[in-house]
Symmetry: C2
Subunit: 466 residues, 2 copies
Amino acid sequence: MNAVPISEIYKDDIIVNSSITVCGWIRSRRNSKSGFSFITIYDGSCFYSIQVIANNSLSNYYKEILHLTIGCSVIVTGMLILSLGNQQKYEIQATEIKILGWVENPDTYPISAKKHSIEYLRDVAHLRARTNLIGVIVRIRNHVLQALHYFLQKNNYYWVPTPIITSLNTEGAGAMFRVSTLDMQNIPKNQDGSVDFKKDFFGKESFLTVSGQLNIETYACALSRVYTFGPTFRAENSNTSRHLSEFWMLEVESAFTNLDDMSDFIEHMLKYVFKSLLKNCMPDINFLKNYIDNDIIIRLKKNLCMEFVRIDYLDAINILLNSKIKFEKSVFLGVDLASEHERFLVEKHFKIPVIIKNYPKELKAFYMRLNDDKKTVAAIDLLVPNIGELIGGSQREERLSMLDERLLELGLKKEDYWWYRDLRRYGTVPHSGFGMGFERLISYVTGVSNIRDIIPFPRTVKNSHF
Amino acid sequence: MNAVPISEIYKDDIIVNSSITVCGWIRSRRNSKSGFSFITIYDGSCFYSIQVIANNSLSNYYKEILHLTIGCSVIVTGMLILSLGNQQKYEIQATEIKILGWVENPDTYPISAKKHSIEYLRDVAHLRARTNLIGVIVRIRNHVLQALHYFLQKNNYYWVPTPIITSLNTEGAGAMFRVSTLDMQNIPKNQDGSVDFKKDFFGKESFLTVSGQLNIETYACALSRVYTFGPTFRAENSNTSRHLSEFWMLEVESAFTNLDDMSDFIEHMLKYVFKSLLKNCMPDINFLKNYIDNDIIIRLKKNLCMEFVRIDYLDAINILLNSKIKFEKSVFLGVDLASEHERFLVEKHFKIPVIIKNYPKELKAFYMRLNDDKKTVAAIDLLVPNIGELIGGSQREERLSMLDERLLELGLKKEDYWWYRDLRRYGTVPHSGFGMGFERLISYVTGVSNIRDIIPFPRTVKNSHF
């Protein structure tokens, strides 16, 4: 089929007054009294649809075209012309409209012309990509991923896949999903009554990954700059607008890099993404501005002009204490910042992304590098307005003796981390990295606040539908 | 740290006779009798290492530099100069060499200078990225992924993530991994003794996906051209060089596309990848030619010049019958082609990639479009030499009545596919797609025959190490 995507028309590459074929779905049909109809066709290739003029001289005008409803699929051939109307630049004067698929019972079509609530659309996740909003999210998500790849590649980072199935719990915490092929009706048991995982597929208890970091460190300690981008899992029973049981995470790891280098890199990376969106995705962003978040353009531009704030955890605590605000969770030196604290800092106090660094070691994972004060670790969290934590990162502990001390303190077994320790035994290097929740980034740049609307088929507690 | 990746040096962008800092690991050290040493440093940013000349005037020459062994990490500052030697274009006359990390007991360093077998390297998967071979694979794998993204984007395809956790078995076959948070010591049971999955995290029995195809069809039937790229799982107990329990798959789906369109697209896509590799990755490819597969360049070039063969399943059977070869599995009309048959066709008979199309419907999944002969379906398999099946695809059955007939024939419940059927009830369109095993593609273009060496941390039966 020699059809062209509608996006090609709006690139102004197609010669006007030439014949063209487009395929797509009906967005609307409006009949003129003068014996013709205006039909708008959408194919998802860009935000815009194309207006088609169907004259009653078309052989199927009365029998078919006048019965077209929203969602029907068609192939339109005709002359591409400049539109005289104000609403659109181009239109197609149809010479043939072939109907590919009707909508069964248009009155009950789940994605009818009326406005649907974003919550309702989750129940028809298989059809919601036909709406403007979800189409916009698809194109922006796609663009952000390409921009991230481009930025990372330009900076000499290589993509490395890390395993999804693992027998390791990177964070030493966090609920995990078990992966098994054991017969649940007949669990094999050891003599002491425990489950005999030696009989399971992998010969030991295995889980879905909560992070690829430890794995990717092995590649950073060989090829310097690497990243992984893939699905990540948390089996936590948290039913919030910011959590998914299955989400995508970008994890970047760089040898010969300290915490400040990494903070700069993060700021450059995000600014590159914002700039790229403003340059390439304006039709989609304008829709979001009009229907979802009036501030979206100002927010992206403001992020571009201003430097991200960098403060120590200690300073953050002082700001919170001096704010005189009564938080639900009280503030003290050593507190694990709660969402209310983070949002105060980033939304009320600074109103711009904030990097908080040097957290008390008790709050962070074993692999983070101990600072010279012996109390804090070289960790950062990047907070952004409306979202809270978008990125968590750290300089990794590259000194074997310090790492072993931390493992001991936390009651973790050295033997379980034998290969991670090897990186410190053989040509160890200072290195740093971070993880960014991809859907949270998309939520931030689109203003779409519930993360269930960012990913096509969200997985949450009691929900693995579709 | 203001170090530059070694790759930047070989782009000829850095001014000769200027000061430069590089970070990396020692590949070799050779002492001259005239009071200096040649040290080669590798940082993984490209195939090449850089030679450093360390003079005995350096303050740590005798105390440290003369003790450097392979794998030690260093920061080198010095003057970038044009080399007088034949082996390299550039070298660095060091003014400072700072040692970051020593190798503990060099005699037992797992990645010592001697040649290691590829099988041995799997046991030290956390260190094997330090070898030339695995570095080459990383860079080629990275390049192929970027080339695929680029090609798809250029052709108006959008990336869409499909879920990993699913309650659906796309193929209606294939062993799956169960995902659960139930306490294996105390499985909750229903009155009839069956497992009470309502108490499980997702409220029903859930698995790791074997394909994102059904999910992505919903987006193709809304936005026309989409693809998904992510980990995919098979719980089959197959211990071959071509199978992984966890592998990455590219799945492409396009509305308004038939089987021939899709076959053309596949050929263009692969040729784009081959061309891009030959243009951008020659240092890495030359290493593979010298050490792994002497034919690699000829093979890629031949694939570029020749059209892929396209034959019907029926013709394939006739070729096999006429070959007079005694296959282990005998050949007859309707046989599910075995690896030996596929390899004969592609390696002995055609010696170029072959697309076999129109398979008997009994051999293929329910969603493939029934041809007019009512016996075959519009399915393709792409076979390539040394690998066998690289891609499987089909035109999808877009006619609801035909789809329902196939579900019934195969004893599948219509209700389980309610949302998939909806795509055929509302504005159905002809559409086609395919899935490509990413690691198999990398195996094909690198000549590295065992897929366990293509992915950093392979998952196979009894193996979820690292």
